[in-house]
């Protein structure tokens, strides 16, 4: 439940009006003794999709993991006004945070059905109707071991695990990574529908997908957040995208640095 009461704190420059559902301030995180996120501020708008952008290795995934408490972190992370930073991961998730990790991370030894059953959260509806409506294939392949699915199918399982529950916010990390163009569109369509139910923080390298889905954008450089604003404005500013992402936003939105693996081939 998103409160409609205005709280009157100063929004980050260019952030959307209305209370953010997720409010991150001064978030720092470390992995293996190394600082990977440094003093990140970001707001996730209460409706729609907020894109989290940045070059490869800048700390997008780490930021999401830090929000979830999957890596050691400090700062404030407020979900709907309540601080999460001292909670263990499972309690954060139980408060209504859905997570679609960067590399799908389905349990390969478990069947598709078991992957979904494991994702059922206590105190939440389990919306198999929605999930099977979005991904009819998962129903057909229910008894198949998730490890034997194709990359695209695994991504569906990963998305379905998050969409199965009632969420306050969804954290989705590169859902189109390594997918064929047809599947990219499919994922994009699913996320658009999911965004009608719960706000999304989306990490995405495919700028066409960002353009289609996101209303707001936050850009990280060197583990810090440097840009907040409407996604459309950001993408329209070619010089800015070039400087912050190292890509040309116009003309297909493919990264120019070639190292991100977004060339359309499906990963094994």
């Amino acid at each position: 439940m998103t409160s409609t009461q205005p709280r009157g704190d100063v929004a980050v420059d260019g952030a959307p009006a209305g209370d953010p559902v997720l409010r991150v301030r001064g978030l720092s995180a470390h992995v293996a003794g190394q600082q990977v996120v440094e003093h990140v501020d970001l707001d996730v708008a209460p409706v729609g999709v907020t894109a989290l952008l940045g070059r490869n290795g800048v700390g997008k995934t780490s930021t999401i993991k830090a929000v979830l408490g999957l890596i050691g972190r400090s700062g404030t992370v407020e979900l709907d006004g309540a601080d999460l930073v001292h909670l263990p991961t499972h309690q954060i998730v139980q408060r209504g945070v859905g997570y679609v990790p960067e590399d799908r991370e389905v349990f390969s030894g478990l069947t598709v059905t078991d992957n979904l059953r494991l994702a059922e959260r206590r105190g939440s509806r389990h919306r198999y109707d929605l999930v099977y409506d979005l991904f009819p294939e998962l129903q057909e392949r229910g008894a198949q071991a998730a490890g034997t699915l194709s990359g695209g199918q695994q991504q569906m399982v990963s998305l379905a695990r998050a969409l199965l529950n009632d969420n306050q916010v969804l954290l989705v990390d590169e859902p189109t990574k390594g997918l064929a163009p047809r599947l990219v569109q499919e994922v994009s369509r699913v996320l658009a529908r999911a965004a009608q139910v719960a706000p999304i923080l989306l990490v995405e390298q495919n700028l066409q997908v960002v353009r289609d889905l996101a209303q707001h954008a936050v850009v990280l450089t060197d583990g810090r957040s440097v840009h907040h604003g409407p996604a459309a404005d950001f993408l329209a500013d070619d010089a800015l995208t070039q400087r912050l992402l190292g890509v040309h936003a116009e003309g297909g939105g493919e990264p120019t640095d070639g190292g991100s693996g977004h060339t359309g081939e499906e990963r094994a």
Partner: protein, 380 residues
């Protein structure tokens, strides 16, 4: 920086250098003095019993230093270090008896054989790291222990143990009357082990090992082979342990299968962890504390008044290993960094090359889990 802090830092450096020297001189003089430490030592310092106990403490301290190279420097949790200690003790006796060699050439033969032996086993064990490494070293040591107990070819004496072939040993190192000489030998061995440990730690291999422990991936990226570095440290630690095994054989006039057992390695682990992982002085202090405490607790176990206690108190009090095991658990749970960490914490300052939370941090670094788990590990 002001001159006064410079001066005090300079003074500290001097004290840091003089203190160990003074300690060694004091220890060297102990057999000539009549010092009493009731409750700590069994008698005046010139008596053979006390000298033997102190010599044993010093040999164990030297052995703990070699274990520190594995655990504290290379981040290797070994459960088979006793194998090398036992190798030194048993092989020295066997070489002297079977090849009829004098002490010094025998020592050389054992050291050479030990270097080959530890390189071979190290190369196999280091194919795995972390916990699997612990299990594998344990298995090899177990095989050694079985071998010693089975006594193939009637050379190890089986369960009874092996007697020192005194006919090949200089008279000065034989018998109770010469405990003093053995004591000085043990002291020299400890000083040598400390020097060697320091040297290995400051060598290039030591630095790279330190880096490997902190972040193996980064070292690999830099094009260095963590395997070779770890192997070098493993062999160095093993050779020192072999040397100490030989001193132990002389000191105890024999060897028993216990010194090859897993329990023996575990007692080394206790010493190093209680002393403080990553600290040389911690390893020495932990070993001395362990040996003296073990001796005191054994005396306590036989005390008259303990036997009159009700069973709930009598049984735990008459089992030294129960008390030491409990102490160890308490240190691990509530005193991260062990004695050395606590001393540093109390002094309230960071020493260069190791801070107060060092011990706990070192143990965390050894943990291979963070790299294994794809998402990372949750911390509540």
């Amino acid at each position: 920086m002001s001159t006064s802090t410079d001066a005090s830092a300079g003074r500290r450096a001097w004290v840091g250098r003089l203190l160990p020297l003074g300690l060694v001189v004091l220890l060297a003089c102990l057999p000539l003095l009549d010092l009493n430490l009731p409750g700590v030592l069994p008698g005046p310092t010139y008596t053979p019993g006390t000298l033997h106990l102190l010599a044993l403490a010093m040999v164990m301290a030297a052995l703990a230093l070699s274990y520190h190279l594995l655990l504290g420097v290379a981040g290797l949790l070994s459960f088979g270090h006793a194998l090398y200690f036992g190798f030194g003790a048993y092989l020295l006796g066997i070489v002297m008896t079977e090849l009829e060699l004098a002490l010094v050439p025998s020592v050389v033969v054992v050291l050479l054989a030990g270097a080959v032996f530890s390189t071979l086993l190290g190369a196999i064990s280091l194919r795995v790291t972390g916990i699997p490494f612990a299990m594998v070293t344990l298995a090899f040591a177990q095989a050694g222990s079985v071998l010693v107990r089975r006594d193939p070819g009637r050379v190890t004496g089986g369960e009874e143990g092996m007697r020192l072939p005194t006919e090949h040993v200089p008279d000065a190192l034989v018998g109770v009357a010469d405990t003093r000489n053995l004591y000085w030998l043990a002291l020299a061995a400890l000083v040598l082990a400390f020097g060697l440990t320091t040297w290995v730690q400051r060598s290039r291999a030591g630095h790279v090992a330190e880096a490997v422990r902190e972040n193996e991936l980064r070292v690999r990226v830099l094009g260095m082979r963590p395997f070779l570095v770890k192997l070098a440290i493993f062999v160095a630690a093993s050779v020192i342990a072999i040397g100490m095994g030989m001193v132990h054989l002389l000191l105890n006039s024999g060897a028993v299968p216990h010194i090859v057992s897993a329990e023996f390695t575990i007692s080394l682990l206790l010493m190093v962890v209680i002393g403080g992982v990553g600290s040389r002085w911690g390893a020495v202090g932990g070993a001395v504390l362990y040996v003296l405490l073990n001796q005191r607790l054994t005396v306590l176990a036989q005390a008259e008044w303990v036997h009159d206690l009700p069973a709930v108190l009598r049984i735990p009090l008459s089992e030294p290993m129960f008390i030491l095991g409990t102490l160890f658990v308490l240190v691990v749970m509530f005193l991260p960094g062990g004695l050395a960490g606590t001393v540093t914490r109390l002094r309230g300052r960071r020493r260069s090359g190791g801070g107060p939370e060092e011990g706990a941090a070192r143990l965390e670094e050894m943990d291979d889990d963070e790299q294994d788990q794809t998402v990372g590990a949750a911390r509540p």
